[in-house]
């Protein structure tokens, strides 16, 4: 078990190296001088020379890459010139908001989509299966920024139920413990703030959830149907085992693995979806930060945000890998 986890962790190192190389490559290959790219347009010759030295841009390319990796490992990508603050400090401040939004969206997606897919599989070919597949294919086809706008139009514009932007009302704040506003509000004992935070979360989280429901329910359906083709299921049916017991004992454990796989693959969609949803709902996470950084050509901040997203994605995939071992007994003890 421990062996497997260490192998996976070590396996992530070459990927991290390649990814940092790609980000470094983007910086180097971009038109114009990298030092000028990293500074605002009105930078003086002196500042350009300074940056060139700080990033080692006057040294050979492999030394530059080494320096870049070194900077990245120390979480130092210089200063954002829009915010006049260290890049990783800014990202650190915004990260909890992105994680909180993604967390609620993912939990909601799983809670809705997995049962939906199971119901469809168990009623294969019936009307309810057709309804689920219509929901699923529409969910995959609708662009999330449009869904978000429609939700705003209906729930904030028409019904006036939920706010359409931000994370908490202006002037309201909670002492930060976990960084998740909802959890912090509960820790501080303020149930009102907790409810308010949930209201602000509702529409962005729902938008992200709707984008994921389609694929998760479709894969769940396929996985449960596949699991039903196994001989031990035929035996169970033949010996007259109750339907509920078969589903619980024979179908769900076997369907769990493809479902976890697809949830793992969906993390990519979750992250890219969150960038767009954050922009639609002015959610103060890394996505809006990246968007603002790009629009003012704040390159250190852009590089930092891209690197953070990628590292986050690799880390989440690693977690999923480890989670496999927990749910699939066949993987335990193997030196896979």
């Amino acid at each position: 078990m421990l062996h497997l986890i260490t192998t996976r962790l070590l396996g992530a190192i070459p990927v991290l190296l390649l990814v940092t190389m790609a980000i470094f490559g983007l910086l180097r290959l971009a038109p114009g001088d990298a030092a000028e790219l990293l500074l605002p347009d009105d930078a003086t010759e002196e500042q350009i020379a300074e940056t060139r030295e700080a990033w080692g841009l006057d040294r050979p390319i492999w030394a530059q890459y080494g320096q870049f990796i070194g900077n990245l490992a120390r979480f130092d990508l210089g200063e954002s010139y829009r915010y006049r603050a260290p890049v990783f400090e800014l990202i650190g401040e915004r990260l909890p908001a992105t994680l909180e939004l993604s967390f609620y969206a993912l939990v909601m997606a799983i809670v809705i989509a997995v049962p939906l897919g199971m119901i469809a599989a168990l009623n294969k070919g019936k009307i309810i299966d057709a309804i689920v597949s219509v929901i699923s294919i529409s969910g995959v086809s609708a662009p999330s920024f449009w869904v978000g706008i429609l939700l705003v139009l209906f729930f904030s514009g028409y019904l006036n139920l939920f706010p359409s932007s931000g994370r908490l009302p202006y002037g309201v704040s909670v002492p930060s413990v976990t960084g998740f506003v909802t959890f912090d509000a509960l820790i501080a004992g303020s149930f009102d703030t907790f409810l308010q935070a949930l209201k602000y979360l509702a529409l962005p989280a729902l938008t992200l959830t709707l984008a994921m429901i389609g694929i998760i329910s479709r894969i769940t359906r396929a996985a449960v149907i596949d699991a039903g083709q196994e001989e031990h299921v035929f035996t169970a049916v033949a010996k007259g085992m109750k339907r509920g017991t078969i589903v619980r004992r024979h179908l769900m454990p076997n369907a769990a693995i493809p479902i976890v796989t697809i949830i793992g693959l969906e993390l990519g969609a979750l992250i890219s979806g969150s960038i767009i949803v954050e922009v639609v709902f002015s959610w103060p996470g890394i996505g809006t930060l990246l968007f603002q950084a790009i629009s003012v050509r704040d390159m250190p901040l852009t590089t930092g945000a891209v690197a953070s997203y990628t590292i986050l994605f690799i880390a989440l995939n690693l977690l999923i890998d480890i989670f496999y071992v927990l749910i699939d007994p066949r993987l335990r003890g193997h030196k896979a």
Partner: protein, 276 residues
């Protein structure tokens, strides 16, 4: 291969896609207006008023004309992306699976590192660093999209290389180019078309997302994503500005997903039993 053309997925998918293609090709015959013609006197007209079938935007531009321009941009970009990434992906993957060895090892590492970026993020990064242009949008969308083709082709080529007729062709002196052209690539076409149909759907979504974020083609060209971004600020006063382009994206992507599903069903040899 027997096709079941009466399938509902095929009928709806083909109808919707046909409709979008018709608008893109012959849309100019329906509306007398052009995409960028401003008329501030006629701004924010609701649909079906003043001769504007879908209404006008904040600058009095005809929404239908802009939708037609958007359809052209979306379809042209997505089609280029799908063709380029398909050709690159199938060839790279087929060579990997057929040759194995160093070539395979190197391409697998490249695949792995491209795949380690969340989708769209790499595209955003490329456009942020390299600036916006039609070529860069196509490049940004292609850079990750060839991977599914290459994975599929690699897996199938590995199976094909050990089949008797491929081996005999090699024994008879068939060179790499001959075996690839005659025996490997034709066998990958069906799967490539299925991957391509779904890939076209995601490419349209991705292009719209980039335009929405203001990172797509230059803003003077009307795109669905760009129209949506502009229409957002008028959502409470004039809903059609943001709703219409979304409908365009939705039905195009839906039609491709339906057709992709239908194609996959046609080629799926696995028929499942229905016990519980």
């Amino acid at each position: 291969m027997k096709f079941d053309f009466l399938n509902l997925k095929f009928i709806i998918g083909a109808f919707l896609l046909g409709f979008v293609l018709f608008l893109a090709l012959f849309g100019n015959l329906i509306t007398p207006f052009t995409a960028n013609k401003q008329s501030l006197m006629d701004s924010l007209l609701p649909p079906l008023s003043g001769g504007h079938i879908l209404g006008t935007d904040h600058l009095g531009r005809d929404i239908l004309a802009r939708m037609i321009s958007g359809a052209r941009v979306s379809l042209a970009i997505a089609a280029s992306v799908v063709v380029i990434s398909g050709v690159v992906g199938v060839i790279v993957g087929a060579l990997s699976g057929y040759l194995r060895g160093t070539w395979d090892l190197v391409t697998q590492k490249i695949v792995e590192s491209f795949w380690a970026f969340p989708p769209i993020l790499l595209a955003i990064a490329i456009l942020a660093f390299f600036g916006q242009s039609l070529t860069n949008v196509i490049l940004a969308l292609t850079i990750q999209r060839w991977i599914p083709y290459s994975r599929m082709s690699r897996a199938q080529a590995m199976v094909l290389r050990s089949l008797a007729y491929v081996e005999s062709s090699r024994v008879m002196g068939g060179g790499l180019a001959w075996v690839m052209r005659r025996h490997i690539l034709p066998n990958l076409m069906a799967s490539a078309i299925i991957v391509g149909t779904f890939s076209m759907a995601t490419a349209i979504l991705a292009e719209a997302s980039l335009s929405f974020l203001g990172l797509g083609v230059p803003p003077q060209i009307a795109t669905w994503g760009g129209m949506l971004a502009e229409g957002r600020s008028y959502i409470t006063r004039a809903w059609w500005l943001a709703v219409m382009p979304g409908v365009g994206i939705f039905i195009t992507v839906l039609s491709l997903n339906l057709l992709g599903d239908w194609l996959r069903d046609q080629y799926d040899p696995k028929k499942t039993l229905n016990l519980i």
